[in-house]
Symmetry: D2
């Protein structure tokens, strides 16, 4: 039984890690750390857990965590991860970080997009980008995982096969992404309140969202050359889900059927990737509540352009589920253990 | 491994039975019957199941069902159940019916509220009302279960302890209930379309909803005398969930703490019933996506009146989950098997 | 042209007053006071007003207000009104207060429900409860109006005719009310954020909500005796709207048609009250975006109980619209001026 | 007083025309035609109109319409318009058609995208494309207006200034559009029901939506050369609103401030177009319930690409509001008459 600690257990990503661990047969939640709610039962903060998980939330005590846990998930506000993790990592723990702090190969990219120097650049060399479908081999050998962002998981999965096949005009890539509101986290800020979000829709951080740099890093690795692309996030009045509509000019003619074939081959054997047949497309509803990603496409032959749509549950495949998938890889479990629940649809 | 058939598998209750069965370790879905979609894969109708359950939907063939299945869930439109079930039951199958057809002890009550005679009154004598917390013993011995309605489960659980204790003025009972839209089923009717439901709220079938008669039947049994009560259903713009606000004049003074104690005692040992401490109340969010019921209360000492609020997920504890709970009872499984998932909260 | 000031112009009730004034032919917004946003244009805070109303928000300056305005609407957080209003009133301004501070005839009732002594009890004697349909005559003669609460407007309108006719058992009154989220105001509190409200429903302040006392005051006045009743507010995932489901045991038999007749007579000539024919009931959608109230009913002859449902737009008839209706009365306008827009339905 | 008839008055666009006419000082609704509800009062179908507009719905009678009306709005299902309009037009009525039937200059384009020959190609020569900001002069002289589609209004307004200035690489244009559910009309189809739409998001008719051809027609006219572009519609769980995110590679470097300046100049004097300052962007909430369009932009200097976002209320500026704006133009009213209401925000 792998013993697990969750730091930031009462945020929306943290509590989703907790929820998923409850149905994982090989892992046991030993510590749930919450700065704000230490001393309370986790089921007082999230009464959906009453009688199922009533563990008491505690403050962060590195000694205690080290003694009690084999793996820690860090689901902390941005910036907090990189001050806490070096110590935990040094103590020999396996660390899966859900923040942006350990997702970069190059500290300069971090600095450029996060506006501050990275305080633990030496750890960036040891950390592995935890997009399981792309880096499975390295992940298994690592014990510090930079768990990818929600937008990035959805976007990279959508474009990787095209880029890998060399059929996309790399300068033409555009990702128009739509997110549910859980993506904003459990924060009592005015723009998050019901009446400001409901019955509306907006774009934000246009041409400036940090996830752009993650997507560029990973697609550049695949392409073998430097990619710069457009990424536009939007906020949509629903709770869960990321939907990415991706555009790429093609370097050669192709039908939708051929593109689907290319994607099926690229993702062959991938349990959590569903490539849709020509004529069908994924919807948020198809993946919500699950660790699955849906990818579908239409080749616009009139224009020589591919339109690839991709969707995931931002809290699961885009955060907590992928983090558990990473735990499975680094702890030697079956990769899909605890993650095979069908989505809710309703 | 218990072999299961689901009739009406593509309705909202049916598909929820299917979804729950997928994570039940002792049951296997052998047949998914759908009149409208026979010949298609279930995952074409509900793509959330792609790669998880791709069983082909079939038409109803009683011989085939009898050979392939031990238990059938019938999640059919009203009226269809009582024409199909007598044959299946005679063939020796265990039948859990999610319609209103086998929930009554007295065919006259059925006739009064459903506006037609019951076509299989002899089976009403064999069927058991499947509210597990109230009729566990009889359920275990039966093989024809009338699975309770969503409103009724929520309402009866809320009022049973008060009625049982004899502290409620029986003529004063009022249940004001609020339902999510899945309760209306998967029907392309104008009042169900998004723009007619969203950002609105309405009462319907005031003083005339059929579930009234179920609630009266069960509470009368507990009281040992004939109860008539008000039941008012409302439609609320959310997907899942039933919330019942119940009012009862008290026959003797009582504090909220005493009432909570009374409920805790009544539901002692009940895995799926959560009685809330004084000062806290359940919300839909606490139970949505789970088989749990939350019950809380406030005694209004100023008025000598109890206000009991109760909530469940209408598709799970109010339909498919309770149906599986019944299957567990009649098949000898642990009662909570496959039903212990925490709710989604988000 | 009546010159108007709005205090608390950037709250949800305040901005709705502003929006309504924009289409009022006889009133002109001269001052929009906002503590938090002073110095900004109102259309920077609410860009829906861009190019329509770009007035600069200012801090509170009583001299300036007195010089510039004839009427002020005070849409301030609870408690703020009663510190600001005495001065404004003394200066001769007409004041329409949207808080609870000037709604009571008896300062002891205020003290009991608001938990503090009223700091200007002498003004309570001059203020009039601004439920236009009940107090039209007094309102016209007053220049200090306690504009009713949203829940109370909806509830009192629903029960007044029954109480007035003496056919309701006064000890049996129960109001089960459901509110949209704008009722919580523009406050960045955790319980107000989208993901805590959406797809959920809860009861709150059960047997303890302050609006109870307003409803009791007004219905007692009508009955000529002291009424105590149950009032249970619920939060529903929609923006606008209050829906009250009211229960009253009848002192004599009555049909639904007779009850409808009684209501029609009581509200004869009332432009903003719509009494529904037997067999039809109002829905939030019918009044949302308008100053109209919809009232419908079913007499449950089986039980001898009336179920009256009533709905309004909480921001309009429940706040800003009624405030403008009061302004019309005290300034000598046609009572419905600026308030006759049909609701949005969609 | 201009006498008006509305054909298809009970659809979502039709009823919105009716609602807007109610506050238009110079027009009076004389006939409301509804095939499905003839004989009922319009306020029985839309009770939000009770007491405000209780006109009886009638069947289509061309003689009667001709005698009673000066202008007719046709808000009919696709295909119906072109069978009804030729006759009405010949009788001398002014016709504003909300369908796609009279939006094209070239019947071949219609045939290509609508899959059938146009049955009244001679009328296409007389009809004017009713995007008021682009064709004001011609509209005033016409009496047959092809009122633009919702997606197209939003998209064309967003891209026209860039195309007109010759700074957009015409082969690079991509429009990623998001629509509220009223866009699907009042149709009881399964994909429209609440539980299929809510908490989800999907793309549809990718690379195949008919509005593509309208956008291409209009932008080509501005460019003076043939434009082909990508248009991807998405369905979002909200009622009203269209949001278009438009991408264009720039032919020369430009800052966001310069682009804003270019747009302000292009739309100078346009009452219903709001160009946003650099650093701010429109949201659905800013225009919902109004005839205004919001346009904002970010120049991604890193990529040499413009990202222009545009939003409108699909039922108003995208349908009924623009139709009334067209009526104002062809009937000699002030162009903004009856259309200046601020949006609802809440």
């Amino acid at each position: 039984m792998v013993k697990v600690g969750v730091l930031g257990a009462t945020g929306y990503a943290g509590i989703e890690v907790v929820r998923l661990l409850l149905s994982h047969p090989g892992a046991r939640l030993e510590r749930a750390v919450s700065h704000s709610f230490a001393g309370q039962k986790i089921s007082d903060v999230y009464p959906s857990l009453k009688g199922i998980c009533d563990i008491e939330l505690c403050g962060l005590d590195a000694d205690d965590i080290t003694k009690s846990c084999d793996v820690v998930f860090t689901a902390l506000p941005h910036g907090a991860s990189k001050t806490v993790i070096p110590d935990l990592y040094k103590r020999g723990l396996k660390v899966i970080d859900l923040s942006g702090d350990f997702r970069y190969n190059d500290p300069k990219v971090y600095e450029e997009w996060y506006g501050e120097p990275h305080s633990a650049p030496e750890l960036l060399r040891e950390s592995v980008y935890g997009l399981c479908e792309l880096h499975r081999g390295e992940i298994k050998k690592s014990r510090l995982i930079g768990n990818p962002g929600c937008y990035t998981t959805c976007s990279i999965l959508a474009l990787a096969p095209l880029v890998d096949a060399g059929v996309a005009e790399l300068r033409s890539l555009i990702i128009d992404a739509k997110s549910g509101v859980t993506g904003a986290g459990r924060s009592a800020a005015l723009p998050n309140i019901y009446c400001e979000v409901n019955e509306s829709l907006k774009a934000y951080k246009v041409a400036a969202h940090r996830h752009t740099s993650e997507i560029e890093q990973e697609l550049s690795l695949i392409a073998g050359e430097n990619i710069k692309l457009s990424f536009t996030p939007h906020l949509v009045p629903m709770q869960r889900g990321i939907f990415a509509t991706c555009y790429a000019d093609l370097t050669k003619p192709m039908t939708t059927a051929e593109a689907v074939e290319l994607y099926k081959k690229y993702y062959e054997g991938e349990e959590f990737i569903r490539v849709y047949e020509a004529g069908t497309l994924p919807e948020i509803k198809h993946v919500s509540g699950s660790n699955y990603a849906g990818i579908g496409m239409v080749i616009d032959e009139r224009l020589g352009r591919a339109v690839v749509v991709s969707c995931i549950d931002n809290l699961i495949k885009g955060a907590a589920g992928q983090a558990v998938q990473n735990m499975n890889l680094i702890c030697g479990f079956d990769e899909g253990e605890g993650l095979r629940a069908a989505g809710m649809y309703l």
